[in-house]
Symmetry: C2
Subunit: 219 residues, 2 copies
């Protein structure tokens, strides 16, 4: 926990009925894996998503309300490197600047987990990518400091969330359970005993294209 | 598929958010495993459940509607041996007559999978337990014949459903997804790629105490 009730949380993270957070065969053409976009269908219809893309319109129902909740009071983000981009290994140069163009939708510091150092990358609109090479706890410490009393949101991907779950460092998770079967891919909680780690489901909300569940770690 | 549109189906089968159909440590005191009753809480409140117990009353909302659907047009049941009772190994005698008293709630032939032969056991109200020692396909063949054009319902437990899933012998599954984390126990679909087996989610219904999902195998 950060000071004054600020939380470490996951928001709007989509999983299939059978628990996969990404499909199989991730690559540049399929950043969410083959069939991964099926997981996102609830989100791309919402006003929240369209705003992230700098567009107007979008649906304003239950799914949108849950998505918007996820952006409230977030002071810093943490992303795994694959969420930042498709480049693997040492950075060949600094030309990759994220998936989101010159004004990414974060508007806060974003700590990117990587094994390869790189200078901070300030972007338009208040986003600054900062590259952390000394592990998840260091990234979280830096994110808390940067968040200034607001929440830290862990954006994913699956491997990053799994690491933070196992370390019992996440307070709240909002998962959007999509009515699809993925069959294979990256599983969010396989071999992780969420109950033993202290998590319980505190809320379930039926949305238009997903069932939203809130998991919370008991104090 | 049986003739004339009759189906092989699973109904009202409860699983946790993390996919467990029974808790850990099943024994005579805990036939559903420790914490297993948390999976059943949506069901025991319903009128359908109370009728099964020979009682009146019970809730008549969405959860009850889904439970009642599961009993419609069922001509035969299949149960794993542990669903029939706690006796393991050869039958010491024929004194165990099921968990349900003299008038079980099935009112049809019920085929019990076991490695140990035993004569058929007719009960009050039309239920007859028939013990099948030559495997799941034989049990299904016998159940289809007995069902006379109505559906065959596979009652569980988890291991039995997993066997029939892997053999692609189930047409429809109605799962009641409970907003609880089990953490460990018997997992319904771990290491089973439901998508590769041809299943898809065709319906999601928010109930009072569970989210109901219908999985169907594509023809």
């Amino acid at each position: 926990m950060t000071a004054a009730g600020a939380k470490i949380r996951v928001g709007s993270f989509s999983i299939s009925l059978d628990g996969f957070g990404a499909g199989p065969g991730q690559d540049l053409q399929n950043p969410l894996g083959v069939r991964g976009p099926e997981l996102m269908e609830w989100f791309v219809s919402t006003r929240a998503w369209r705003r992230m893309q700098g567009e107007s319109g979008g649906e304003t129902g239950v799914d949108n309300g849950m998505a918007e909740r996820g952006f409230e009071d977030v002071g810093a983000w943490i992303l795994g490197r694959n969420m930042f981009g498709p480049v693997r290994g040492p950075w060949p140069d600094h030309s990759w600047r994220g998936w989101w163009g010159e004004e990414p939708p974060y508007h806060t510091p974003v700590f990117v987990l990587t094994h390869h150092a790189r200078p901070p990358l300030p972007m338009a609109g208040g986003t600054e990518f900062r590259f952390v090479t000394d592990g998840i706890e260091s990234a979280l410490r830096q994110a808390r400091d940067a968040a200034g009393g607001r929440d830290v949101r862990i954006g994913g991907g699956v491997a990053t969330i799994r690491q933070y779950l196992r370390a019992r460092l996440i307070d709240d998770l909002h998962l959007a359970l999509r009515p699809v079967l993925m069959g294979s891919g990256e599983h969010l909680w396989r071999d992780i005993d969420l109950r033993a780690l202290g998590y319980e489901c505190v809320e379930t909300v039926a949305g238009e294209r997903a069932t939203h569940v809130i998991l919370r770690r008991r104090a």
